[in-house]
Protein backbone atom coordinates (compact mmCIF):
# COMPACT_ATOMS: atom_id res chain seq x y z
CA UNK A 1 0.00 0.00 0.00
CA UNK A 2 2.75 2.40 0.97
CA UNK A 3 4.53 1.48 -2.22
CA UNK A 4 1.49 2.43 -4.29
CA UNK A 5 1.25 5.77 -2.50
CA UNK A 6 4.90 6.48 -3.22
CA UNK A 7 4.46 5.52 -6.86
CA UNK A 8 1.42 7.78 -7.21
CA UNK A 9 3.19 10.76 -5.66
CA UNK A 10 6.15 10.18 -7.98
CA UNK A 11 3.68 10.03 -10.86
CA UNK A 12 2.14 13.35 -9.86
CA UNK A 13 5.53 15.06 -9.65
CA UNK A 14 6.50 13.84 -13.11
CA UNK A 15 3.10 14.84 -14.53
CA UNK A 16 3.56 18.30 -13.04
CA UNK A 17 6.90 18.88 -14.74
CA UNK A 18 5.77 17.38 -18.04
CA UNK A 19 2.65 19.52 -18.26
CA UNK A 20 4.46 22.61 -16.96
CA UNK A 21 6.88 22.50 -19.86
CA UNK A 22 4.11 21.94 -22.41
CA UNK A 23 1.84 24.60 -20.89
CA UNK A 24 4.44 27.33 -20.89
CA UNK A 25 5.83 26.47 -24.32
CA UNK A 26 3.95 29.22 -26.10
CA UNK A 27 5.11 31.83 -23.60
CA UNK A 28 8.70 30.69 -23.92
CA UNK A 29 8.73 31.18 -27.67
CA UNK A 30 11.11 33.90 -28.79
CA UNK A 31 9.29 36.81 -30.35
CA UNK A 32 5.56 37.34 -30.25
CA UNK A 33 3.69 34.01 -30.40
CA UNK A 34 0.55 35.74 -31.63
CA UNK A 35 2.40 36.87 -34.75
CA UNK A 36 3.18 33.23 -35.48
CA UNK A 37 -0.25 31.80 -34.65
CA UNK A 38 -2.27 34.44 -36.44
CA UNK A 39 0.09 36.30 -38.74
CA UNK A 40 -2.84 37.23 -40.96
CA UNK A 41 -4.71 39.16 -38.27
CA UNK A 42 -4.99 42.92 -37.88
CA UNK A 43 -3.23 44.60 -34.90
CA UNK A 44 -6.55 44.91 -33.04
CA UNK A 45 -7.39 41.25 -33.57
CA UNK A 46 -3.91 40.30 -32.38
CA UNK A 47 -4.35 42.39 -29.26
CA UNK A 48 -7.69 40.68 -28.59
CA UNK A 49 -6.15 37.25 -29.11
CA UNK A 50 -3.25 38.08 -26.80
CA UNK A 51 -5.79 39.08 -24.19
CA UNK A 52 -7.88 35.98 -24.73
CA UNK A 53 -4.84 33.70 -24.42
CA UNK A 54 -3.60 35.65 -21.41
CA UNK A 55 -0.04 35.66 -22.67
CA UNK A 56 0.86 38.65 -20.49
CA UNK A 57 -0.26 37.00 -17.24
CA UNK A 58 2.29 35.65 -14.74
CA UNK A 59 3.45 32.16 -15.65
CA UNK A 60 1.80 30.43 -12.69
CA UNK A 61 -1.54 31.96 -13.65
CA UNK A 62 -1.04 30.75 -17.21
CA UNK A 63 -0.20 27.26 -15.99
CA UNK A 64 -3.22 27.09 -13.72
CA UNK A 65 -5.57 28.23 -16.43
CA UNK A 66 -4.03 25.89 -18.98
CA UNK A 67 -4.37 22.93 -16.60
CA UNK A 68 -8.02 23.74 -15.95
CA UNK A 69 -8.73 23.97 -19.67
CA UNK A 70 -6.77 20.81 -20.42
CA UNK A 71 -8.62 18.75 -17.82
CA UNK A 72 -12.00 19.95 -19.07
CA UNK A 73 -11.14 19.10 -22.66
CA UNK A 74 -10.50 22.62 -23.90
CA UNK A 75 -7.36 22.20 -25.96
CA UNK A 76 -7.37 25.62 -27.57
CA UNK A 77 -7.95 26.30 -31.22
CA UNK A 78 -6.53 26.38 -34.69
CA UNK A 79 -6.46 29.94 -35.96
CA UNK A 80 -7.00 30.73 -39.59
CA UNK A 81 -8.42 33.52 -41.71
CA UNK A 82 -11.83 31.90 -41.49
CA UNK A 83 -11.83 31.87 -37.70
CA UNK A 84 -11.04 29.54 -34.84
CA UNK A 85 -11.62 25.77 -34.84
CA UNK A 86 -11.31 23.77 -31.61
CA UNK A 87 -8.34 21.37 -31.43
CA UNK A 88 -10.32 18.78 -29.49
CA UNK A 89 -12.45 17.98 -32.57
CA UNK A 90 -9.38 16.93 -34.54
CA UNK A 91 -7.87 15.07 -31.58
CA UNK A 92 -11.03 13.04 -31.13
CA UNK A 93 -10.64 11.63 -34.65
CA UNK A 94 -6.86 11.35 -34.59
CA UNK A 95 -6.26 9.61 -31.28
CA UNK A 96 -7.96 6.30 -32.23
CA UNK A 97 -5.90 6.12 -35.43
CA UNK A 98 -2.63 6.45 -33.52
CA UNK A 99 -3.70 3.95 -30.89
CA UNK A 100 -4.72 1.44 -33.56
CA UNK A 101 -1.38 1.85 -35.30
CA UNK A 102 0.60 1.30 -32.11
CA UNK A 103 -1.50 -1.58 -30.79
CA UNK A 104 -1.43 -3.39 -34.12
CA UNK A 105 2.34 -2.90 -34.37
CA UNK A 106 2.74 -4.22 -30.84
CA UNK A 107 0.66 -7.31 -31.62
CA UNK A 108 2.65 -8.02 -34.77
CA UNK A 109 5.86 -7.55 -32.80
CA UNK A 110 4.89 -10.09 -30.17
CA UNK A 111 3.53 -12.58 -32.71
CA UNK A 112 6.88 -12.65 -34.51
CA UNK A 113 9.45 -11.81 -31.84
CA UNK A 114 8.37 -14.25 -29.13
CA UNK A 115 8.49 -17.45 -31.23
CA UNK A 116 11.73 -16.30 -32.88
CA UNK A 117 13.31 -15.47 -29.53
CA UNK A 118 12.37 -18.84 -28.05
CA UNK A 119 13.49 -20.88 -31.04
CA UNK A 120 16.80 -19.07 -31.47
CA UNK A 121 17.51 -19.46 -27.76
CA UNK A 122 16.76 -23.17 -27.93
CA UNK A 123 18.87 -23.62 -31.04
CA UNK A 124 21.53 -21.08 -30.08
CA UNK A 125 24.53 -20.90 -32.43
CA UNK A 126 22.69 -22.88 -35.11
CA UNK A 127 22.67 -21.51 -38.64
CA UNK A 128 19.09 -20.34 -38.20
CA UNK A 129 20.04 -18.53 -35.00
CA UNK A 130 22.93 -16.76 -36.66
CA UNK A 131 20.89 -15.75 -39.70
CA UNK A 132 18.09 -14.41 -37.52
CA UNK A 133 20.49 -12.49 -35.33
CA UNK A 134 22.28 -10.93 -38.27
CA UNK A 135 18.95 -9.88 -39.77
CA UNK A 136 17.88 -8.39 -36.46
CA UNK A 137 21.14 -6.49 -36.15
CA UNK A 138 20.60 -5.09 -39.63
CA UNK A 139 16.98 -4.14 -38.94
CA UNK A 140 18.09 -2.19 -35.88
CA UNK A 141 20.31 -0.06 -38.12
CA UNK A 142 17.51 0.81 -40.54
CA UNK A 143 15.60 3.95 -39.51
CA UNK A 144 11.85 3.29 -39.45
CA UNK A 145 11.08 6.23 -41.74
CA UNK A 146 13.55 4.89 -44.31
CA UNK A 147 12.05 1.40 -44.08
CA UNK A 148 8.60 2.97 -44.46
CA UNK A 149 9.64 4.71 -47.67
CA UNK A 150 11.34 1.58 -49.04
CA UNK A 151 8.19 -0.47 -48.35
CA UNK A 152 6.00 2.24 -49.85
CA UNK A 153 8.09 2.19 -53.00
CA UNK A 154 8.63 -1.54 -53.55
CA UNK A 155 5.41 -3.00 -52.14
CA UNK A 156 3.15 -0.09 -52.83
CA UNK A 157 4.37 1.53 -56.04
CA UNK A 158 6.29 -1.22 -57.83
CA UNK A 159 4.31 -4.33 -56.92
CA UNK A 160 1.06 -2.47 -56.24
CA UNK A 161 0.13 -5.02 -53.59
CA UNK A 162 -0.98 -2.58 -50.95
CA UNK A 163 -2.14 1.03 -50.83
CA UNK A 164 0.47 3.47 -49.53
CA UNK A 165 -1.76 6.10 -48.01
CA UNK A 166 -5.17 6.77 -46.60
CA UNK A 167 -7.06 5.37 -43.67
CA UNK A 168 -10.23 3.35 -43.25
CA UNK A 169 -11.74 2.81 -39.81
CA UNK A 170 -11.99 -0.85 -38.72
CA UNK A 171 -15.67 -0.36 -37.92
CA UNK A 172 -16.28 0.62 -41.53
CA UNK A 173 -14.44 -2.15 -43.32
CA UNK A 174 -12.10 -4.31 -41.28
CA UNK A 175 -10.36 -5.92 -44.23
CA UNK A 176 -9.70 -2.64 -45.97
CA UNK A 177 -8.51 -1.22 -42.64
CA UNK A 178 -5.93 -3.97 -42.31
CA UNK A 179 -4.85 -3.62 -45.93
CA UNK A 180 -4.18 0.06 -45.45
CA UNK A 181 -2.51 -0.34 -42.08
CA UNK A 182 -0.27 -3.21 -43.21
CA UNK A 183 2.69 -1.18 -44.44
CA UNK A 184 2.71 1.37 -41.59
CA UNK A 185 2.40 -1.42 -39.03
CA UNK A 186 5.23 -3.42 -40.59
CA UNK A 187 7.46 -0.35 -40.79
CA UNK A 188 6.80 0.48 -37.16
CA UNK A 189 7.13 -3.10 -35.90
CA UNK A 190 10.34 -4.11 -37.71
CA UNK A 191 12.77 -2.43 -35.34
CA UNK A 192 10.75 -3.52 -32.33
CA UNK A 193 10.76 -7.13 -33.48
CA UNK A 194 14.55 -7.06 -33.64
CA UNK A 195 14.88 -5.47 -30.20
CA UNK A 196 12.40 -7.82 -28.51
CA UNK A 197 13.83 -10.89 -30.15
CA UNK A 198 17.40 -10.19 -29.14
CA UNK A 199 16.52 -9.54 -25.52
CA UNK A 200 14.17 -12.47 -25.22
CA UNK A 201 16.80 -14.74 -26.74
CA UNK A 202 19.56 -13.82 -24.30
CA UNK A 203 17.11 -14.02 -21.41
CA UNK A 204 15.86 -17.46 -22.47
CA UNK A 205 19.40 -18.78 -22.85
CA UNK A 206 20.03 -17.89 -19.22
CA UNK A 207 16.71 -19.41 -18.12
CA UNK A 208 17.41 -22.65 -19.95
CA UNK A 209 20.45 -23.16 -17.72
CA UNK A 210 18.45 -22.97 -14.52
CA UNK A 211 18.04 -26.00 -12.28
CA UNK A 212 14.28 -26.13 -12.66
CA UNK A 213 14.64 -26.64 -16.40
CA UNK A 214 17.01 -29.55 -15.85
CA UNK A 215 14.52 -30.88 -13.34
CA UNK A 216 11.62 -30.58 -15.76
CA UNK A 217 13.62 -32.33 -18.45
CA UNK A 218 14.66 -35.13 -16.16
CA UNK A 219 11.02 -35.74 -15.33
CA UNK A 220 10.56 -36.60 -18.99
CA UNK A 221 8.48 -33.60 -19.97
CA UNK A 222 8.64 -33.06 -23.70
CA UNK A 223 11.16 -30.43 -24.84
CA UNK A 224 8.50 -28.24 -26.43
CA UNK A 225 6.48 -28.20 -23.23
CA UNK A 226 9.58 -27.34 -21.19
CA UNK A 227 10.37 -24.56 -23.62
CA UNK A 228 6.95 -22.96 -23.97
CA UNK A 229 5.52 -23.59 -20.51
CA UNK A 230 8.42 -23.69 -18.07
CA UNK A 231 11.04 -21.50 -19.66
CA UNK A 232 8.91 -18.84 -21.32
CA UNK A 233 6.95 -17.91 -18.21
CA UNK A 234 9.79 -16.27 -16.23
CA UNK A 235 10.93 -14.54 -19.41
CA UNK A 236 7.55 -12.87 -19.82
CA UNK A 237 8.78 -10.31 -17.30
CA UNK A 238 11.63 -9.47 -19.62
CA UNK A 239 9.17 -8.97 -22.46
CA UNK A 240 7.19 -6.61 -20.25
CA UNK A 241 10.32 -4.67 -19.33
CA UNK A 242 11.27 -4.30 -22.96
CA UNK A 243 7.72 -3.21 -23.75
CA UNK A 244 7.97 -0.53 -21.08
CA UNK A 245 11.31 0.71 -22.33
CA UNK A 246 10.04 0.73 -25.90
CA UNK A 247 6.88 2.76 -25.41
CA UNK A 248 8.80 5.97 -26.14
CA UNK A 249 10.34 4.47 -29.26
CA UNK A 250 6.91 3.25 -30.33
CA UNK A 251 5.28 6.66 -29.89
CA UNK A 252 8.13 8.51 -31.61
CA UNK A 253 8.06 5.98 -34.44
CA UNK A 254 4.29 6.17 -34.85
CA UNK A 255 4.46 9.96 -35.19
CA UNK A 256 6.90 9.75 -38.10
CA UNK A 257 5.27 6.74 -39.76
CA UNK A 258 1.88 8.45 -39.73
CA UNK A 259 3.31 11.44 -41.55
CA UNK A 260 4.90 9.24 -44.20
CA UNK A 261 1.76 7.19 -44.88
CA UNK A 262 -0.59 10.16 -44.44
CA UNK A 263 -2.53 8.47 -41.66
CA UNK A 264 -4.75 11.04 -39.95
CA UNK A 265 -3.35 10.39 -36.46
CA UNK A 266 -1.70 12.45 -33.74
CA UNK A 267 1.64 12.48 -35.57
CA UNK A 268 0.10 14.03 -38.65
CA UNK A 269 -1.63 16.66 -36.52
CA UNK A 270 1.70 17.34 -34.82
CA UNK A 271 3.59 17.81 -38.09
CA UNK A 272 0.77 19.98 -39.41
CA UNK A 273 0.83 22.18 -36.31
CA UNK A 274 4.62 22.56 -36.59
CA UNK A 275 4.34 23.41 -40.27
CA UNK A 276 1.56 25.98 -39.91
CA UNK A 277 2.96 27.25 -36.60
CA UNK A 278 -0.22 26.59 -34.62
CA UNK A 279 1.57 26.68 -31.28
CA UNK A 280 -1.55 26.52 -29.14
CA UNK A 281 -2.57 23.31 -30.86
CA UNK A 282 1.03 22.08 -30.74
CA UNK A 283 1.35 22.46 -26.99
CA UNK A 284 -1.91 20.59 -26.42
CA UNK A 285 -0.86 17.76 -28.73
CA UNK A 286 2.53 17.49 -27.04
CA UNK A 287 0.90 17.49 -23.61
CA UNK A 288 -1.49 14.69 -24.61
CA UNK A 289 1.33 12.54 -25.98
CA UNK A 290 3.60 13.17 -23.00
CA UNK A 291 0.87 12.51 -20.43
CA UNK A 292 -0.12 9.31 -22.24
CA UNK A 293 3.52 8.23 -22.22
CA UNK A 294 3.89 8.86 -18.48
CA UNK A 295 0.65 7.00 -17.71
CA UNK A 296 1.59 3.98 -19.84
CA UNK A 297 4.96 3.78 -18.10
CA UNK A 298 3.22 3.98 -14.75
CA UNK A 299 0.89 1.12 -15.69
CA UNK A 300 3.76 -1.03 -16.94
CA UNK A 301 5.52 -0.40 -13.63
CA UNK A 302 2.46 -1.42 -11.65
CA UNK A 303 1.86 -4.47 -13.79
CA UNK A 304 5.46 -5.44 -13.30
CA UNK A 305 5.15 -5.48 -9.54
CA UNK A 306 1.87 -7.37 -9.75
CA UNK A 307 3.44 -10.07 -11.90
CA UNK A 308 6.67 -10.48 -9.98
CA UNK A 309 6.16 -11.39 -6.32
CA UNK A 310 9.80 -10.58 -5.55
CA UNK A 311 9.21 -6.94 -6.48
CA UNK A 312 5.75 -6.89 -4.96
CA UNK A 313 7.05 -7.96 -1.57
CA UNK A 314 10.50 -6.41 -1.64
CA UNK A 315 9.60 -2.87 -0.73
CA UNK A 316 6.43 -3.21 1.33
Amino acid sequence: MRMILRRVSHLLVVLFFVTLFAALMTSLLPGDPVDAIAGFASPEQKEALRDQLGLDDPLYVQYGRWMGDFLTGDLGGYYSVTGERPVIDRVRDALPVSIQLMVEAQILTLLIAVPLGVITAYRATSRFDRATNTTAFGLLALPNFALALILAYYVGVQLEWLPVSGYVAPSEDLLEHLRRMALPVIALAAGQIAAYMRLLRSDMIATLQEDFITMAKSKGISPSRVLWRHALRPSSLTVLTVAGLNVGVLISGAVVIEVIFSLPGMGTLLAEAVFSRQYIALQSLIAIIAVAFVLINFLVDLLYSVLDPRIRNART
Partner: protein, 320 residues
Protein backbone atom coordinates in the same frame (compact mmCIF):
# COMPACT_ATOMS: atom_id res chain seq x y z
CA UNK B 1 47.53 3.76 -6.92
CA UNK B 2 46.09 1.31 -9.40
CA UNK B 3 43.41 3.75 -10.44
CA UNK B 4 43.20 2.40 -13.94
CA UNK B 5 43.17 -1.21 -12.95
CA UNK B 6 41.15 -3.25 -15.38
CA UNK B 7 42.13 -6.82 -14.71
CA UNK B 8 39.76 -9.32 -16.22
CA UNK B 9 39.01 -11.17 -13.02
CA UNK B 10 38.20 -8.03 -11.09
CA UNK B 11 35.66 -6.96 -13.65
CA UNK B 12 34.07 -10.35 -14.16
CA UNK B 13 30.34 -9.99 -13.78
CA UNK B 14 28.97 -12.00 -10.84
CA UNK B 15 26.37 -13.57 -13.12
CA UNK B 16 29.09 -15.18 -15.18
CA UNK B 17 30.80 -16.63 -12.15
CA UNK B 18 27.51 -18.05 -11.01
CA UNK B 19 26.70 -19.85 -14.24
CA UNK B 20 29.98 -21.72 -14.04
CA UNK B 21 28.80 -23.59 -10.98
CA UNK B 22 25.63 -24.83 -12.67
CA UNK B 23 25.23 -28.33 -13.96
CA UNK B 24 26.04 -28.37 -17.63
CA UNK B 25 23.05 -28.65 -19.91
CA UNK B 26 23.05 -29.12 -23.65
CA UNK B 27 23.10 -25.38 -24.28
CA UNK B 28 26.11 -24.92 -22.08
CA UNK B 29 28.57 -24.47 -24.92
CA UNK B 30 26.42 -21.70 -26.36
CA UNK B 31 26.44 -19.63 -23.23
CA UNK B 32 29.59 -20.28 -21.29
CA UNK B 33 31.99 -17.65 -22.62
CA UNK B 34 35.13 -19.71 -23.11
CA UNK B 35 38.38 -17.73 -23.13
CA UNK B 36 38.56 -18.13 -26.89
CA UNK B 37 35.06 -16.73 -27.34
CA UNK B 38 35.84 -13.76 -25.15
CA UNK B 39 39.03 -13.13 -27.05
CA UNK B 40 37.14 -13.29 -30.31
CA UNK B 41 34.60 -10.76 -29.09
CA UNK B 42 37.42 -8.44 -28.11
CA UNK B 43 39.25 -8.65 -31.38
CA UNK B 44 37.94 -6.40 -34.10
CA UNK B 45 37.78 -8.96 -36.88
CA UNK B 46 37.11 -8.18 -40.50
CA UNK B 47 33.69 -6.69 -39.78
CA UNK B 48 35.13 -4.35 -37.19
CA UNK B 49 37.83 -3.18 -39.57
CA UNK B 50 35.23 -2.57 -42.27
CA UNK B 51 33.15 -0.60 -39.76
CA UNK B 52 36.12 1.59 -38.86
CA UNK B 53 37.02 2.03 -42.53
CA UNK B 54 33.49 3.20 -43.33
CA UNK B 55 33.47 5.69 -40.46
CA UNK B 56 36.89 7.03 -41.47
CA UNK B 57 35.57 7.42 -45.02
CA UNK B 58 32.50 9.43 -44.08
CA UNK B 59 34.37 11.56 -41.57
CA UNK B 60 36.99 12.29 -44.25
CA UNK B 61 34.22 13.12 -46.72
CA UNK B 62 32.62 15.48 -44.23
CA UNK B 63 35.89 17.24 -43.41
CA UNK B 64 37.19 17.39 -46.97
CA UNK B 65 33.90 18.29 -48.68
CA UNK B 66 35.03 21.83 -49.60
CA UNK B 67 38.22 20.66 -51.33
CA UNK B 68 36.82 17.56 -53.06
CA UNK B 69 36.17 17.89 -56.81
CA UNK B 70 32.39 18.00 -56.37
CA UNK B 71 29.65 20.08 -57.86
CA UNK B 72 28.11 22.75 -55.69
CA UNK B 73 25.45 20.91 -53.62
CA UNK B 74 22.99 23.70 -54.34
CA UNK B 75 23.63 24.13 -58.06
CA UNK B 76 20.73 23.03 -60.26
CA UNK B 77 21.49 21.04 -63.42
CA UNK B 78 18.13 20.90 -65.16
CA UNK B 79 19.15 17.93 -67.32
CA UNK B 80 19.77 15.58 -64.37
CA UNK B 81 16.64 16.45 -62.36
CA UNK B 82 15.32 13.15 -61.01
CA UNK B 83 17.84 11.13 -63.05
CA UNK B 84 19.06 7.94 -61.38
CA UNK B 85 22.66 6.91 -60.66
CA UNK B 86 25.02 6.57 -63.59
CA UNK B 87 24.14 9.80 -65.33
CA UNK B 88 27.01 11.36 -67.23
CA UNK B 89 29.34 13.10 -64.79
CA UNK B 90 26.97 12.58 -61.88
CA UNK B 91 27.68 9.15 -60.41
CA UNK B 92 24.69 9.10 -58.05
CA UNK B 93 22.37 11.05 -60.34
CA UNK B 94 20.47 14.18 -59.41
CA UNK B 95 17.70 15.01 -56.99
CA UNK B 96 14.29 16.43 -57.82
CA UNK B 97 15.71 19.88 -58.47
CA UNK B 98 18.68 18.59 -60.47
CA UNK B 99 21.25 18.97 -57.72
CA UNK B 100 24.10 16.47 -57.76
CA UNK B 101 23.26 13.63 -55.33
CA UNK B 102 26.87 12.66 -54.59
CA UNK B 103 27.68 16.21 -53.65
CA UNK B 104 24.57 16.53 -51.48
CA UNK B 105 25.27 13.28 -49.65
CA UNK B 106 28.91 14.25 -49.04
CA UNK B 107 27.94 17.72 -47.86
CA UNK B 108 25.05 16.18 -45.94
CA UNK B 109 27.51 14.10 -43.95
CA UNK B 110 28.82 17.36 -42.50
CA UNK B 111 25.50 18.33 -40.96
CA UNK B 112 24.55 14.79 -39.93
CA UNK B 113 27.89 13.97 -38.29
CA UNK B 114 28.21 17.40 -36.72
CA UNK B 115 24.80 17.01 -35.11
CA UNK B 116 25.38 13.37 -34.15
CA UNK B 117 28.76 13.98 -32.53
CA UNK B 118 27.88 17.43 -31.18
CA UNK B 119 24.72 16.30 -29.42
CA UNK B 120 26.49 13.33 -27.86
CA UNK B 121 29.35 15.54 -26.67
CA UNK B 122 26.77 17.75 -24.96
CA UNK B 123 25.19 14.63 -23.45
CA UNK B 124 28.56 13.22 -22.39
CA UNK B 125 29.76 16.40 -20.72
CA UNK B 126 26.53 17.37 -18.97
CA UNK B 127 25.07 13.90 -18.39
CA UNK B 128 28.48 12.52 -17.49
CA UNK B 129 29.14 15.27 -14.95
CA UNK B 130 25.70 14.96 -13.37
CA UNK B 131 25.89 11.16 -13.33
CA UNK B 132 29.37 11.22 -11.82
CA UNK B 133 28.31 13.59 -9.08
CA UNK B 134 25.09 11.67 -8.40
CA UNK B 135 26.90 8.36 -8.18
CA UNK B 136 29.83 9.59 -6.12
CA UNK B 137 28.22 12.04 -3.72
CA UNK B 138 24.94 10.13 -3.27
CA UNK B 139 22.42 11.71 -0.91
CA UNK B 140 20.62 14.84 -2.01
CA UNK B 141 22.79 15.36 -5.07
CA UNK B 142 21.72 11.95 -6.31
CA UNK B 143 18.04 12.69 -5.65
CA UNK B 144 18.20 15.94 -7.63
CA UNK B 145 20.09 14.61 -10.64
CA UNK B 146 18.24 11.30 -10.81
CA UNK B 147 15.01 13.27 -10.59
CA UNK B 148 16.17 15.43 -13.47
CA UNK B 149 16.96 12.33 -15.53
CA UNK B 150 13.51 10.90 -14.71
CA UNK B 151 11.74 14.06 -15.82
CA UNK B 152 13.73 14.27 -19.05
CA UNK B 153 12.96 10.62 -19.74
CA UNK B 154 9.26 11.15 -19.18
CA UNK B 155 8.93 12.78 -22.57
CA UNK B 156 9.10 10.50 -25.60
CA UNK B 157 12.56 11.42 -26.92
CA UNK B 158 11.51 12.59 -30.35
CA UNK B 159 8.69 14.70 -28.93
CA UNK B 160 11.07 16.42 -26.50
CA UNK B 161 13.50 17.23 -29.28
CA UNK B 162 10.67 18.41 -31.52
CA UNK B 163 9.38 20.71 -28.79
CA UNK B 164 12.79 22.22 -28.08
CA UNK B 165 13.54 22.84 -31.75
CA UNK B 166 10.10 24.36 -32.32
CA UNK B 167 10.46 26.68 -29.35
CA UNK B 168 14.01 27.76 -30.11
CA UNK B 169 14.31 27.73 -33.87
CA UNK B 170 11.17 27.59 -35.92
CA UNK B 171 9.36 30.06 -38.08
CA UNK B 172 10.43 31.98 -41.10
CA UNK B 173 13.87 33.40 -41.55
CA UNK B 174 15.65 31.02 -39.20
CA UNK B 175 19.20 30.68 -40.42
CA UNK B 176 20.59 27.26 -41.16
CA UNK B 177 23.39 27.79 -38.64
CA UNK B 178 20.98 28.63 -35.85
CA UNK B 179 18.81 25.60 -36.65
CA UNK B 180 21.85 23.33 -36.58
CA UNK B 181 23.06 24.69 -33.25
CA UNK B 182 19.59 24.30 -31.78
CA UNK B 183 19.37 20.73 -33.11
CA UNK B 184 22.66 19.91 -31.40
CA UNK B 185 21.39 21.43 -28.18
CA UNK B 186 17.95 19.76 -28.35
CA UNK B 187 19.24 16.30 -29.19
CA UNK B 188 22.00 16.83 -26.60
CA UNK B 189 19.38 17.48 -23.93
CA UNK B 190 17.59 14.31 -24.99
CA UNK B 191 20.79 12.28 -24.59
CA UNK B 192 21.67 13.72 -21.15
CA UNK B 193 19.54 11.29 -19.10
CA UNK B 194 20.67 8.27 -21.12
CA UNK B 195 24.36 9.00 -20.63
CA UNK B 196 23.78 10.32 -17.13
CA UNK B 197 22.17 7.11 -15.94
CA UNK B 198 24.87 4.79 -17.26
CA UNK B 199 27.53 7.05 -15.73
CA UNK B 200 25.78 7.11 -12.39
CA UNK B 201 25.29 3.33 -12.31
CA UNK B 202 28.95 2.67 -13.11
CA UNK B 203 30.17 5.36 -10.73
CA UNK B 204 28.18 3.73 -7.93
CA UNK B 205 29.99 0.45 -8.51
CA UNK B 206 33.48 1.91 -8.89
CA UNK B 207 33.18 4.29 -5.93
CA UNK B 208 33.08 1.34 -3.56
CA UNK B 209 36.38 -0.11 -4.72
CA UNK B 210 39.45 -0.32 -2.52
CA UNK B 211 41.55 2.12 -4.51
CA UNK B 212 38.95 4.82 -3.95
CA UNK B 213 39.05 4.09 -0.25
CA UNK B 214 42.84 4.20 -0.38
CA UNK B 215 42.78 7.53 -2.16
CA UNK B 216 40.43 8.88 0.50
CA UNK B 217 42.70 7.55 3.22
CA UNK B 218 45.64 9.33 1.62
CA UNK B 219 43.70 12.56 1.88
CA UNK B 220 42.82 13.10 -1.77
CA UNK B 221 40.12 15.65 -2.37
CA UNK B 222 36.72 14.46 -3.57
CA UNK B 223 37.02 16.24 -6.88
CA UNK B 224 40.35 14.67 -7.59
CA UNK B 225 39.04 11.20 -6.67
CA UNK B 226 36.02 11.68 -8.93
CA UNK B 227 37.99 12.77 -11.95
CA UNK B 228 41.28 10.90 -11.49
CA UNK B 229 40.25 7.64 -9.86
CA UNK B 230 36.61 6.98 -10.76
CA UNK B 231 36.10 8.69 -14.12
CA UNK B 232 38.83 6.80 -16.04
CA UNK B 233 37.15 3.54 -15.08
CA UNK B 234 33.69 4.74 -16.01
CA UNK B 235 34.74 6.11 -19.40
CA UNK B 236 34.58 2.80 -21.35
CA UNK B 237 30.94 2.34 -20.43
CA UNK B 238 30.16 5.94 -21.36
CA UNK B 239 32.05 5.54 -24.61
CA UNK B 240 30.21 2.40 -25.71
CA UNK B 241 26.84 4.06 -25.06
CA UNK B 242 28.05 7.24 -26.77
CA UNK B 243 28.82 5.30 -29.97
CA UNK B 244 25.27 3.96 -30.02
CA UNK B 245 24.06 7.45 -29.15
CA UNK B 246 25.68 9.06 -32.21
CA UNK B 247 23.76 6.58 -34.36
CA UNK B 248 20.49 7.31 -32.58
CA UNK B 249 20.97 11.07 -33.00
CA UNK B 250 21.74 10.80 -36.72
CA UNK B 251 18.49 8.84 -37.17
CA UNK B 252 16.59 11.29 -34.95
CA UNK B 253 17.67 14.20 -37.13
CA UNK B 254 16.13 12.32 -40.05
CA UNK B 255 12.88 11.82 -38.16
CA UNK B 256 12.80 15.53 -37.28
CA UNK B 257 13.38 16.32 -40.96
CA UNK B 258 10.30 14.29 -41.86
CA UNK B 259 8.36 16.37 -39.32
CA UNK B 260 9.74 19.54 -40.87
CA UNK B 261 12.25 20.67 -38.24
CA UNK B 262 15.45 18.94 -39.30
CA UNK B 263 18.45 20.73 -40.75
CA UNK B 264 17.19 23.81 -42.60
CA UNK B 265 17.09 23.44 -46.38
CA UNK B 266 18.87 24.10 -48.68
CA UNK B 267 21.74 22.96 -46.41
CA UNK B 268 21.71 19.20 -46.95
CA UNK B 269 21.72 16.54 -44.24
CA UNK B 270 21.18 12.82 -44.79
CA UNK B 271 17.83 13.15 -43.05
CA UNK B 272 16.48 16.09 -45.00
CA UNK B 273 17.59 14.61 -48.33
CA UNK B 274 15.36 11.62 -47.50
CA UNK B 275 12.54 13.86 -46.29
CA UNK B 276 12.76 15.97 -49.43
CA UNK B 277 12.96 12.88 -51.65
CA UNK B 278 9.58 11.65 -50.40
CA UNK B 279 7.89 13.92 -52.93
CA UNK B 280 9.70 12.21 -55.84
CA UNK B 281 9.54 8.68 -54.46
CA UNK B 282 7.40 7.35 -57.29
CA UNK B 283 9.68 8.38 -60.15
CA UNK B 284 13.09 8.83 -58.52
CA UNK B 285 13.42 6.41 -55.60
CA UNK B 286 17.21 6.81 -55.64
CA UNK B 287 16.89 10.19 -53.91
CA UNK B 288 15.59 8.35 -50.85
CA UNK B 289 17.65 5.19 -51.29
CA UNK B 290 21.13 6.72 -51.54
CA UNK B 291 21.08 8.54 -48.18
CA UNK B 292 19.21 5.59 -46.65
CA UNK B 293 22.08 3.26 -47.54
CA UNK B 294 24.57 5.76 -46.12
CA UNK B 295 22.64 6.10 -42.84
CA UNK B 296 22.18 2.34 -42.66
CA UNK B 297 25.90 1.62 -43.03
CA UNK B 298 26.83 4.34 -40.55
CA UNK B 299 24.40 3.16 -37.89
CA UNK B 300 25.44 -0.44 -38.50
CA UNK B 301 29.12 0.47 -38.06
CA UNK B 302 28.47 2.48 -34.90
CA UNK B 303 26.27 -0.22 -33.35
CA UNK B 304 28.85 -2.86 -34.15
CA UNK B 305 31.74 -0.90 -32.67
CA UNK B 306 29.62 -0.05 -29.62
CA UNK B 307 29.19 -3.79 -29.05
CA UNK B 308 32.93 -4.38 -29.50
CA UNK B 309 33.78 -1.70 -26.95
CA UNK B 310 31.25 -3.20 -24.57
CA UNK B 311 32.71 -6.67 -24.96
CA UNK B 312 36.28 -5.45 -24.62
CA UNK B 313 35.70 -3.51 -21.43
CA UNK B 314 33.11 -5.92 -20.10
CA UNK B 315 30.50 -3.23 -19.66
CA UNK B 316 27.62 -4.87 -17.87
CA UNK B 317 24.22 -4.53 -19.42
CA UNK B 318 22.70 -4.77 -15.98
CA UNK B 319 24.28 -1.42 -15.19
CA UNK B 320 21.90 0.12 -17.69
Amino acid sequence: MPARERSATAMQAPELIQTQTLEPVDLESAVEPTPEMQARARRLGIAGKLAIAWLVLIVAAAVLAPVLPLDDPNENFAQIAGQGPGTDGHILGGDGLGRDMLSRVVWGSRASLLIGVGAIVVGLVVGGLFGLMAGYRRGRTETVFSGLFDVLLSYPQLILALTLVTVLASGEGISSTRRTIVLIFALGVVSIPVLGRITRANTLAWSEREFVLAAKAMGARNRSIMFREVLPNVLPAMFSIALLGVAVVIVAEGALSVLGVGVQLPTPSWGNIIAEGRADLRDSPHIVLVPTVVIFLTVLALNFLGDVVRARFDVRESAL
